[in-house]
């Protein structure tokens, strides 16, 4: 294998691993800008990975699996939103419970029956796919990966340009002030969680019926937490958040690619590498204090 070929292989694997992270990160970014430190993004990804595989197996359509995955994320987002921004239960507790619940439930359900393997189709862009090195990794991928491009644009536009996004940012920075100006604080936060759920659901489903084609126990393996790390790494800006996803995705790809290339490192250490990197990134970048001022702070009218 030539050096160029192996670069292309690692890049291709890096892109495949980045896409689910990037989709979920677009969602998490919105949730956090609205003031919710949404750790149930892990549950959203894992839950949707499972339902997408189950749906694809039952109907034979991987695309339908993708849709059901998205809806699963939406449902988890709705549950989280109502519990923490209506019933005012601590958002971290809700997130932890949802993560544990989904992990347990999917681990159990996977043992109850055999699921047939289905995968969405590859979509190659003619000409572009023939560019050396980057052609195949970027332009010959499973079709839902291309959705990332409009979704990133839409996320940016919603947050930075729409009235909804303006209110969202206000809610994440200073809910009391937003409230007195007539913004419905908890409604906006629930809506942000729905957006997060839909995109994280799509990300999880993409991982399962897009890349792997099947479900295995705890298949997201903390990717939701990596997404949270990417938002912190990105200092709550969308572009840098996506860059963070790419860094984590490629480091994950390197882990998979090194052994075949004959480079042997301690396997456990390699598995831990992206997480160590995430930790390091957070350590280096949290000092910038760019986070939404009301991140993780619940809002109830009348209390200050």
């Amino acid at each position: 294998m030539s050096a160029l070929d192996s670069t292309s292989t690692i890049l291709a694997s890096g892109v495949r691993l980045t896409v689910p992270l990037a989709l979920a990160a677009c969602g998490e970014y919105v949730a956090e800008r609205a003031g919710t430190m949404n750790i149930s993004v892990e549950a959203m990804m894992l839950g949707s990975a499972f339902t997408s595989v189950a749906t694809a197996s039952a109907t034979g359509s991987a695309t339908l699996g993708l849709v059901v995955g998205l809806l699963t994320g939406l449902v988890i987002g709705a549950v989280h939103g109502n519990l923490s921004h209506r019933a005012q239960i601590n958002t971290f507790v809700v997130g932890l419970v949802l993560n544990a619940l989904v992990l347990g439930l999917t681990s159990f359900l996977i043992t109850t029956q055999q699921f047939a393997s289905h995968q969405v189709d590859l979509l190659s862009v003619p000409l572009l796919r023939d560019i050396p090195v980057i052609g195949a990794p970027l332009f010959s991928v499973r079709w839902p990966a291309y959705l990332l491009i409009p979704l990133v644009g839409l996320t940016w536009w919603l947050v930075e340009r729409s009235r909804w996004g303006l209110e969202l940012r206000a809610v994440g920075e200073n809910p009391q002030a937003a409230d007195v100006t007539g913004v419905k604080v908890n409604l906006r936060r629930r809506q942000a969680l729905l957006w997060c759920g839909a995109l994280a659901g799509l990300g999880g489903a993409y991982l399962a019926v897009g890349e792997v084609g099947s479900f295995n126990q705890n298949m997201t393996a903390g990717r939701g937490y990596i997404v949270i790390a990417a938002v912190i790494f990105g200092a709550w800006r969308l572009g840098r958040t996506l860059l963070g996803c790419l860094v984590f995705g490629v480091s994950d790809a390197l882990r998979l690619a090194l052994p075949p290339l004959g480079i042997t490192l301690n396997a456990q250490l390699l598995v831990a590498a992206p997480y160590l990197l995430a930790l390091l990134a957070m350590l280096l970048f949290t000092t910038q204090h760019r986070e939404p001022a009301a991140l993780g702070r619940p809002f109830e009218r009348g209390s200050t």
């Binding site: 340009r161 729409s162 009235r163 303006l166 002030a177 100006t181 007539g182 001022a293 009348g302």
Partner: protein, 518 residues
Amino acid sequence: MTPTASAAPILELRGITKSYGPVTACDAVDLRVDAGEIHGLLGENGAGKSSLMKVLLGLVRRDDGLVLVRGQEVALDSPQEAAELGIGMVHQHFSLIDALAVWENVALGDSGKVDKQALCAEIAAVSARYGLPIDPEARVGTLSAGERQRVEVVKCLRRNPRILILDEPTSVLTQAESEELFTVLGRVVQEEGRAVILISHKLAEISRATDRVTVLRKGRVAFRAVTAETTPQLLAQQMVGREVSLGEEGAALGLLPVRNPGTGQDEDHDREAHVLRLAGLTVEHDGVRVLDGVDLTVGAGEIVALYGVEGNGQAMLGDVLSGLVVPSAGTVEVAGQEVDLTRPGVLSKAGLGIVPEDRHQSGVVLDMSVAENLTMKSLDQVSGRFLLRQRAMLAEARRLADEFNIVTPSLDTPVRSLSGGNQQRVVLARELSGRTRVLVAAQPTHGLDVGAIEDMYARLRAAAAEGVGVLLISTELEEVMALATWIAVISSGRITGALPVSEATPERLGMLVGGEAA
């Protein structure tokens, strides 16, 4: 300008009642506001002004009573409805979002597409019309308190409200900025026929700016009058419900104290024998110098006031002297010893006590008992190596509670259920216990009623008389004039001047507050 008697008033409240649990904040309040007038709403802290306005803004629902706008009864259930009825408020706190640009803040609360260009043009038009210059693109977090106020006013006026409510608008303004604001308000009512409700606890301001005044006391309307036919003294009486003296009590109410030359405070302290000395204290935060080379000296037994309008670095100074913030440069000496500010608790050990500005955040632990709060700083005295000695703790707490007249059902009562005045006494008692050489009192009378304010004054005086050096950080002119022997003025993080109280006049202090040398 004067409305005819037959015309329905622009706003009428009838029998508004609002209770929070057992506390009745507003008790059958009637208020009538006409177009073309500035109506003063005066009352002590806790008199019900804020609750009444929250009802009017649809932020809380009234228990009983009618609201009529131009003679029509309205429900007023939400802030949106209030806005549609043309009721707008210039909020003092909690209503601008630092991280957003001016135009984004102004856009909040509108609906429809966000059109930056149109909004910026509109902001420019409104600010030109009223002479309130602001940059629509600036991030609100970078603006001074006065500029933020302008943004608030422009934001409110842009919506073309018929009724404009201002809640304590001058607490963050210099005298010049206050004048500017009142000029704008005058135009708003006289030329444009709007109605303005000015909420304040400052008598001078109410007398200066309003046409009519309604005084609230303990949730009820105590008095109403045409302002020109009253005097500040009369209003002060109505506010507290009894005769008030013109000395300290007047100061507590916002009247300039009348000094009795016979008991003039001695200013001949040996200012070299200082108990607190700040030298070149500088704090940078987000690239802004919040404190810029502050030099300040407090002698034993004297009260030095640090006067200035809110938001000029006082809060940061309080944080430094609480040990919460380590300054980027400069030193703090307590009783002649330089203190290493990087280690926690050293200021307190060195003999510095502090009554912090926000007593709920850093003054007391609300859900712990009175006894625990009182002995928190002297745990060595009331505990063995591992265990608290309950009896010693209660004895010490009892002693302090008696000495400082803390009114509490028991020493085990959580501090949360005490009145503001008593909570503040708990803080003061704790901070003065032990061998305190310096007491820093940051806005010690904020949110207290007149009785509690007078008590606080007396205790600060008593502490000084016992030889404690007192640094009083205050935004109230009358307060510093009544208490201090020296007055230093802070503006934009710098000390712009310091003078003995005998040479201080409101005019000179006003110039220093505005950043000019007097």
